[in-house]
């Protein structure tokens, strides 16, 4: 059931309703850092028919190999690692206080102002629960100026779920919002990084023949890029491309002035990273991706250098060093209950990475960094 191999196809695979449905499944799954099983199962089901090798390592990363085809005996195929992280930010139940009330810890970075008053779902059975908040009638005027202290928030599964009920300490939970397509947009929790996972699944299915594709569906990115480094060590690739999401903070400025800290713009295409806090992208790869986009007429943007980090941060420091770059889908409101991305950005990101892969040769890394 593998895709036909032969000349590099000029027809870019398109993302259609089947791919959107897969993204929906991925976004609705619960896979918080350290508990990626649900997404892992979907990934395995999808890549199995196409892969030459599939391995699950000690941390739960899914490592997929799709070998290319060598045309001439004197060229060595480039070993290209691609990474997308399966985990999302969320919560872990840390204490059962009885009568269905549970204390929880936050896994990954979530602004605590995004928590009160939200619906969540818990555990492998997706048990519904809520993070409540004190009624405003009972709140002092002066308290309104302060954030609800994280220590005071609780997950409430209703009195029937008391001690000995279905939710246990150690269960993981996420926001409960379900995926929805709205016009040009996709709205869901965990677009970061199910969009990357979905793209990577498609790249495995349509892997170009000129390279060895080493696909790493990584774990625990949100809690310190933990999975990517060990995956990179195992693959020992020539280079790495990370598929992630990055915030689009392109909202209007209060005073109507130019917004100069937008990070990326929604609808402006895949975001190419020059630098974030964890990685200084290899300039050779930055040039290569920009040239590829311009020659192919694929819209692209440069993510504003600055904070943040992706799996590339862990990958590029492994072994003797791995030239790396990140290409992300711009996403509004990541790490909240409802993030929004444009379908066109996802399609263009996929197109750019697919095209770049099919044009990759060892020439890209020939010069000095």
């Amino acid at each position: 059931m593998k895709t036909k191999r032969g000349a590099i196809s000029k027809d870019l695979p398109k993302l259609r309703s089947a791919e959107i449905q897969l993204l929906e499944r991925l976004c609705n799954a619960i896979s918080v850092s350290g508990d990626e099983g649900e997404v892992r199962e979907i990934v395995l089901e999808q890549v199995k028919p196409y892969a030459d090798e599939v391995k699950i390592d000690a941390l739960g990363n899914v490592l997929v190999t799709r070998k290319g085809i060598t045309r001439r005996s004197d060229t060595r195929r480039l070993r290209v690692m691609l990474a997308a992280h399966m985990d999302e930010v969320g919560f872990m139940i840390v204490n059962d206080e009885g009568e269905g009330i549970f204390r929880f810890g936050v896994v990954g970075e979530i602004d605590s102002r995004q928590l009160p008053g939200h619906a969540v779902k818990v555990g492998s059975d997706h048990i519904p629960a809520v993070i409540g908040a004190k009624p405003v009638h009972l709140v002092e005027e002066s308290d309104l100026k302060h954030v609800f202290p994280l220590d005071d928030l609780r997950i409430d599964a209703g009195p029937g779920n008391g001690k000995g009920g279905k939710i246990k300490v150690g269960d993981w939970a996420t926001f409960a919002i379900r995926f929805k397509r709205i016009g040009p947009s996709l709205r869901a929790k965990a677009l970061d990084d199910r969009v990357g996972v979905a793209s990577l699944i498609e790249l495995v299915k349509h892997a170009p023949a000129n390279i060895d594709l080493l696909a790493a569906f990584t774990v625990q990115e949100e809690v310190g890029l933990r999975g990517a480094g060990v995956a990179a060590y195992a693959f020992d690739p020539d280079m790495a491309i990370v598929l992630d999401c990055t915030p689009a903070n392109d909202l209007p400025d209060w005073h109507g002035e130019e917004n100069i800290q937008y990070n990326t713009h929604l609808g402006a295409g895949p975001a190419i990273y020059i630098a974030d806090r964890a990685t200084l992208s290899d300039p050779r790869l930055v040039r290569f991706f920009i040239e590829t986009a311009e020659v192919q007429g694929i819209p692209y943007q440069l993510r504003q250098p600055g904070g943040g980090g992706t799996d590339a941060g862990a990958i590029h420091r492994r072994r003797i060093g791995i030239p790396s770059i990140s290409i992300s889908v711009p996403t509004r409101y990541p790490h909240t209950a409802a993030s929004i991305a444009r379908f066109s950005d996802w399609q263009n990101t996929f197109s750019l990475v697919y095209t770049a892969l099919s044009k990759l040769t060892s020439e890209v890394l020939a010069g000095e960094r």
Binding site: A275, G307, R369
Partner: protein, 331 residues
């Protein structure tokens, strides 16, 4: 040595963009080494002869400096930026930067209500004299180093990027003067130290040395109401006991003391409570590498006017030569 110091400190090469300094270093060291390689992260790795026996020693000084990277060019040609490495924002105000393409700019700040506060980096900008975005020869992602000319005060030398071009010079000078050694020596001019000792991680992994020695700057405690630290300018190179990233191997510290005493080279003990060096990454490479650090005392680190004492630099070279050429080993 002073002209070499001047030549190297004035090159702009922030972390990740070390091309120009790397090319300059390569020219200086090529006559003295048997092999020069550049690795995937941009480290320059030089192998001194093909000695066998002794210890495999990795000596590292970082080529990169702190700097800035452009995040946005506005409609009127003003440039917004973010830091590369730990930049003290208060040193930016009124400062100058030099981009890799030679463009020079001035750092200005937005008006704030409280004039005595240092504004955050989002309220700063660079003015290169362009009137419009389209006239600006600088784009998002371009990098610049701080710009401040070298100053020779006689005993004291001042420049930006003494951290760690002075270490680079110590390595080059050592290579020049090294006559013989019982060890296999690898001189690593590392990349991306200022953003987390990244180059040292991969270089140490590749080399698998028996012993690691970083050569970097360290702070001093000899300025008015400054940090209380037992290192002063002019009292000799410092032997690092610990910093925030590592504890030097006691055997390496004892060895460095022993050699310094035997050769009558002045030295000081360094406990640094703010900062670290490549040695921290070398120490935890693979199955572990006993490591230490030879420090050049430096005032005003991470400002555009870092100051070292010339005799400290000369003594650092002497000490490194003695350490690398003698039969006395740390273990």
């Amino acid at each position: 040595m002073k002209s070499l110091i001047q030549k190297l400190v004035e090159i702009p090469a922030p972390s990740g963009y070390e091309m120009q300094i790397r090319a300059a270093v390569k020219v200086e060291i090529e006559p003295f080494v048997s092999e020069v390689k550049i690795d995937p992260l941009g480290n320059l790795i030089a192998h001194k002869d093909a000695a066998s026996g002794g210890l495999k020693i990795m000596v590292a000084a970082h080529m990169d400096e702190i700097g800035i990277m452009v995040t946005h060019v506005d409609e009127n040609g003003f440039i917004r930026f973010t830091n590369i490495g730990s930049v003290y924002l208060r040193t930016c105000i009124g400062g100058r930067v030099r981009f890799l393409n030679g463009t020079v700019g001035v750092i200005g700040i937005e008006r704030t209500d409280n004039r005595s506060e240092v504004p955050p980096v989002e309220k700063m900008f660079i003015d290169i004299g362009a009137a419009h975005r389209k006239d600006c020869p600088v784009r998002v992602g371009d990098v610049a180093a701080f710009d401040c000319p070298f100053l020779d005060m006689g005993d004291r030398l001042v420049a930006k990027a003494m951290d760690d071009r002075i270490g680079v010079v110590v390595l080059i000078e050592t290579l020049r003067q090294l006559k013989k050694t019982p060890h296999q020596l690898y001189f690593v001019f590392s990349a991306q130290e200022e953003v987390g000792t990244r180059g040292a991680i991969t270089a140490a992994y590749a080399l698998e040395p028996d012993l690691g020695l970083a050569v970097d700057v360290t702070s001093t405690g000899d300025t008015p109401k400054g940090v209380k630290m037992d290192v002063s300018l002019g009292k000799g190179p410092a032997i690092k006991v610990r910093d925030t990233g590592m504890l030097s191997d006691p055997r390496v510290v004892d060895w460095m003391v022993r050699i310094a005493q035997k050769a009558h080279i002045p030295y000081q003990f360094e406990v640094l409570e703010n900062g670290s060096t490549d040695a921290r990454s070398i120490q935890i490479a693979r199955a572990g590498v006993p490591s230490g650090c030879l420090s050049v005392p430096c005032r005003y680190i991470h400002t555009p006017s870092e100051m070292v004492d010339y005799s400290d630099v000369q003594n650092a070279v002497r000490l490194l030569l003695e350490l690398l050429s003698g039969e006395d080993k740390p273990f």
